[in-house]
């Protein structure tokens, strides 16, 4: 907390000389050398978006191949490479880094009222590891034997040198080293920032939910990613140093790879999901003009999800015949409970609110509906007999795309539309944003609903062709049409970014009547974020400052005053302490 001693007192006038103090390099040099969390955050987001568009393009190629039983003549090897890289790019290089490297890097220090992340240079290092890791993975396409082609999970022994020779697989493994360390460093940074750089008055129970979720995510990163790195080290030594950790011939155990991978892999699902739950929980209250409903219950739900997620990895391995089914089934089913709690928190937040459907809110509603169906089918898959019937079919593909697309894309782009004005000081066009949403929303359901049916009819995943005459062609064609609608929707987003760039509409500091401290800063924020801070006496200090007579009623029934504690409480006489029961 020592850093904060020099902060001007809340409400003090600006110190212009403080701003001039930083003579920053500009343009390219700035992006290359900055340790500012905002610059690094935008670096992360731009890189992740490039990966997203590349990976989405690969998905469209896959869908074109699948639109008819024999496809368009794509070679099996090309198909296997493309779905491997589609999954790897989306999961390792887009969804995670966009959340904890991009959004969190930018938003968390602002939400806790800090001038930067705790370790700015480590933050920059983390980004460079991520960028080089991403390039490393893509370089696989340039090798003579092609990119990795063993799926994003890279099950041994298929991923060992006997069955996947060639440098493409090695580049893939090295890429996971690099991005894995990048994630760990960012995790350390986030934990330290949230624990040690909170502004006076920002107690843990006043952290915005997004920051809470990023704290839990960062802890999960520290639990999960080292295990992945270890699994990759083993795989690499099996490939190059002649160890036999995963080979039966040498006395190794192939299924060990699956255990290690999914011990990372299932927390990873929540590493990808929790940040976006946080995004939705930031946006829904703002556009409902209400505090988040059941704040503390929501935090406990997040912590429960994280705790449970470390004990459910083997539900990906129900059909291996090597795991204790009831244990993993029960824990997997129990995760539905805190997740369900979150749904009621979101509904309760909207309940009796005044919801305005600007683009970010629309995306959040899309997220709720998509994640609802993905979550319910997830509960079904937590039951081993049902998993036996659908494992590795398109039912599972549809399930996890609904979950991951629902969170990382619907809620992720909700976050982008929400915070873009803060980051660049200009608005995105709301009409184009809504066109983006509706095209994507229709495309989303058209893509994935047929895949559930295909899976139940027995279509396996990761197949480049399928036999004609089984009634699968029309469902696949529908799915392909839906995928192209999603593709179109992201072209609309590019247009939106272009329009915003060419014809800027100034955003102002607080265009949405936001809640968190980030809306108290200028848009874009100055070098060290804040020139002044409002008193912090709830999880929405900016709202309290702007609406002194619409303070949170702590408990639904009474109108009892909220107890004021912490550094910000006493000096806030001007903002009014009385609670108004509107």
């Amino acid at each position: 907390m020592t850093l904060l001693q020099h902060r001007p007192p809340a409400g003090a006038s600006e110190h212009p000389e403080h701003v001039e103090h930083h003579d920053e390099p500009t343009f390219v040099v700035k992006w290359l050398t900055s340790t500012d969390h905002k610059v690094i955050g935008i670096n992360y987001m731009v890189t992740a978006l490039v990966m997203f568009y590349l990976s989405g393009f690969m998905a469209l190629l896959l869908r074109v191949q699948l639109s008819s039983p024999s496809g368009i003549g794509m070679s099996l090897q090309t198909y296997n490479e493309l779905f491997t890289m589609h999954g790897s790019l989306m999961l390792y290089l887009f969804a995670g880094p966009f959340a904890f490297g991009g959004l969190a890097n930018y938003i968390v220090p602002m939400q806790v009222g800090a001038p930067d992340m705790a370790f700015p240079r480590l933050n920059a290092f983390s980004y460079w590891l991520y960028l080089t890791g991403s390039i490393t993975m893509l370089l696989g396409f340039l090798t003579s034997t092609g990119a990795a082609a063993f799926g994003w999970v890279a099950y041994a022994p298929l991923s060992t040198s006997a069955y996947s020779p060639g440098p493409g697989a090695d580049l893939w493994i090295i890429s996971l080293f690099l991005t894995g360390f990048s994630a760990v460093f960012t995790g350390v940074n986030l934990v330290a920032t949230i624990f040690y750089l909170r502004a006076p008055g920002m107690t843990m129970w006043r952290l915005p939910i997004f920051t809470w979720n990023m704290l839990v995510t960062a802890l999960l990163i520290l639990i999960a990613f080292p295990v992945l790195t270890a699994a990759m080290v083993f795989l690499w030594t099996d490939r190059h140093l002649g160890t036999h950790i995963y080979s039966v011939a040498g006395g190794g155990v192939p299924v060990l790879y699956q255990n290690l991978f999914w011990f990372f892999g299932h927390p990873e699902v929540y590493i990808l999901a929790l940040p976006y739950f946080g995004v939705a929980t930031e946006i829904i209250p703002v556009f409902s003009r209400k505090p988040v409903f059941g704040y503390k219950g929501l935090v406990f739900a997040t912590i429960s999800i994280a705790a449970l997620s470390t004990g459910v990895w083997a539900h990906h391995m129900f059909t291996t015949g090597t795991v204790l089914l009831p244990f993993f089934s029960l824990l997997s089913l129990l995760i539905a409970v805190p997740t369900g709690v979150k749904f009621f928190n979101w509904i309760g937040t909207m309940w009796r609110g005044q919801i305005s459907f600007k683009t970010p809110m629309l995306f959040c509603v899309g997220f709720l509906l998509a994640f609802l169906m993905g979550g319910l089918t997830g509960v079904m898959l937590a039951s081993p007999p049902i998993d036996f019937a659908t494992h590795d079919t398109y039912f599972v593909v549809a399930h996890f795309h609904q979950v991951l697309f629902g969170t990382t894309v619907f809620a992720g782009f909700a976050g982008l539309y929400f915070w873009y004005p803060k980051m660049f000081g200009r608005m995105l066009h709301d009409g184009l944003g809504k066109a983006h949403f509706w095209t994507m929303f229709v495309g989303f359901w058209l893509t994935y609903l047929p895949q559930y049916v295909l899976g139940l009819h027995g279509m396996p995943r990761r197949v480049a062709t399928y036999p004609p005459g089984l009634g699968w062609a029309s469902l696949n064609m529908a799915s392909t049409v839906g995928a192209f609608m999603i593709g179109l929707s992201f072209l609309i987003m590019l247009v939106n970014l272009w329009v915003s760039w060419r014809n800027p509409v100034p955003a102002g500091d607080n265009p949405w009547d936001g809640h968190g401290l980030e809306w108290f800063a200028s848009s874009p924020p100055v070098h060290h974020n804040f020139e002044k801070l409002p008193p912090i006496r709830s999880e929405r200090p900016t709202w309290d400052y702007n609406h002194p007579d619409a303070r949170t009623i702590a408990h639904g029934h009474g109108a009892a005053d909220r107890e004021l504690v912490g550094a910000g409480a006493r000096g806030a006489s001007g903002t009014g302490d009385s609670t108004t029961d509107a």
Binding site: I347, T465, P467
Partner: protein, 363 residues
């Protein structure tokens, strides 16, 4: 679920009504599990007794999921429509409602515990293995094909990816003549008797494969180093398409097989080799042809001395059994092949009888 549907419209009003609805949903699950004429919800009712148990669990879970989904989705849509911004009036800034929060935490716990009970009940039935199976088949998955050893009868069927249907069909016909579509006959045929307990012992020679019969509602990994055992009690005769589901390399998409479920008498005739195969014309083509280029389906009667020939496909196709030599994606891949059903002649004991066991020595 007529009660659930009729109440689904106005669920949003009162907690009490929601509670009642959830209770109806939870209470009707066991009733529905006992019922027989459930909608299929796009799933298969199942052609084995195990698959039918799975189907009941599946259908019951889908109904529960629909109930929960309709309530939750209805609340979301209700909020979205009812509370859209109409004025600048400041909504009441409430944040907590402890009884409601306890309620919406406790009810999901009850639901998943009930679901868990049914899950364990069904899973024990599906995973149960009989101490006295009538027929034992050892299934070996390899890149990119299947081998089915009838360990008691010393017969095996082996085939790799192919577009040529296996000849075995129902009632003495070819597979294509008796299957719903010709493509249900792709790959080698796993011939099973109806109404008897069949023990499958599943192993893999090289990488991880997935043994998946959609209409049996069942899949299991063929894991190198792990031997999996499970039972099927096939309910009715038929041809059931099947396929590898776990990505296993270049030709994963073509690693088909199919199950031919025959009445017991017909199965016995087939397995002892006394029933002539429909296209028996191509006689005595050695099974080693599966690794080569012959395109015609071959139903070969193995000569007595063909032990080595029968063993070679296994080692040629299973990369790991030949010392884990690098298998390039396109290099050693068989480009065309034939499923070969090989049965030793009834009178030939000795070498031919030991053929399957020597050929199927796992890595």
């Amino acid at each position: 679920m007529p009660q659930g549907r009729s109440q689904a419209h106005d669920v949003a009003h009162r907690t009490r009504r929601r509670r009642r609805l959830a209770a109806v949903g939870a209470a009707s699950l066991p009733l529905l599990l006992g019922g027989c004429q459930l909608p299929t919800f796009y799933g298969y009712r199942g052609q084995t007794s195990q698959a039918h148990d799975e189907f009941l669990l599946y259908a019951g879970t889908v109904i529960a999921a629909i109930v929960v989904g309709v309530i939750t989705g209805g609340l979301i849509l209700w909020s979205v429509v009812r509370y859209r911004r109409r004025s600048d009036a400041m909504p009441r800034q409430f944040q907590y409602h402890i009884p409601l929060e306890i309620f919406y935490t406790a009810v999901p716990i009850v639901i998943v515990l009930v679901l868990f009970g049914f899950t364990v009940f069904t899973e024990n039935k599906v995973d149960n293995v009989s101490p006295t199976p009538a027929v034992a088949v050892k299934v070996t998955a390899f890149q990119w094909g299947w081998r089915f050893d009838y360990t008691n009868q010393r017969v095996f069927v082996q085939g790799v990816r192919t577009d040529n249907p296996d000849p075995v069909g129902l009632n003495g016909s070819t597979c294509t003549a008796s299957a719903p579509t010709p493509n249900d006959c792709l790959g080698p045929g796993l011939v099973l008797p109806v109404g008897q307990t069949v023990r499958i012992t599943l192993v893999s020679n090289d990488v991880v494969h997935g043994f998946y019969v959609p209409q049996f509602n069942f899949s299991r990994y063929a894991l190198p180093g792990v031997t999996n055992r499970f039972d099927f009690n096939v309910a009715r005769p038929g041809i059931y398409r099947a396929q590898c589901t776990q990505l296993c390399g270049l030709y994963h998409a073509q690693m088909f097989f199919h199950v031919v479920a025959l009445p017991p008498a017909q199965f016995d005739a087939w397995v002892t080799g006394s029933q002539p195969q429909p296209d028996q014309g191509t006689v005595a083509q050695p099974a080693v042809g599966t690794g080569g280029t012959s395109g015609a389906p071959a139903s070969a009667t193995l000569p007595t001395g063909a032990t080595g020939a029968a063993a070679s496909p296994s080692s040629a196709a299973g990369g790991a059994s030949s010392g884990g030599a690098p298998t390039g994606p396109a290099g050693t891949a068989p480009t065309a092949s034939s499923p070969a059903r090989t049965t030793p002649p009834a009178g030939s004991a000795g070498a031919a009888r030991t053929t399957p066991s020597t050929a199927s020595t796992a890595p």
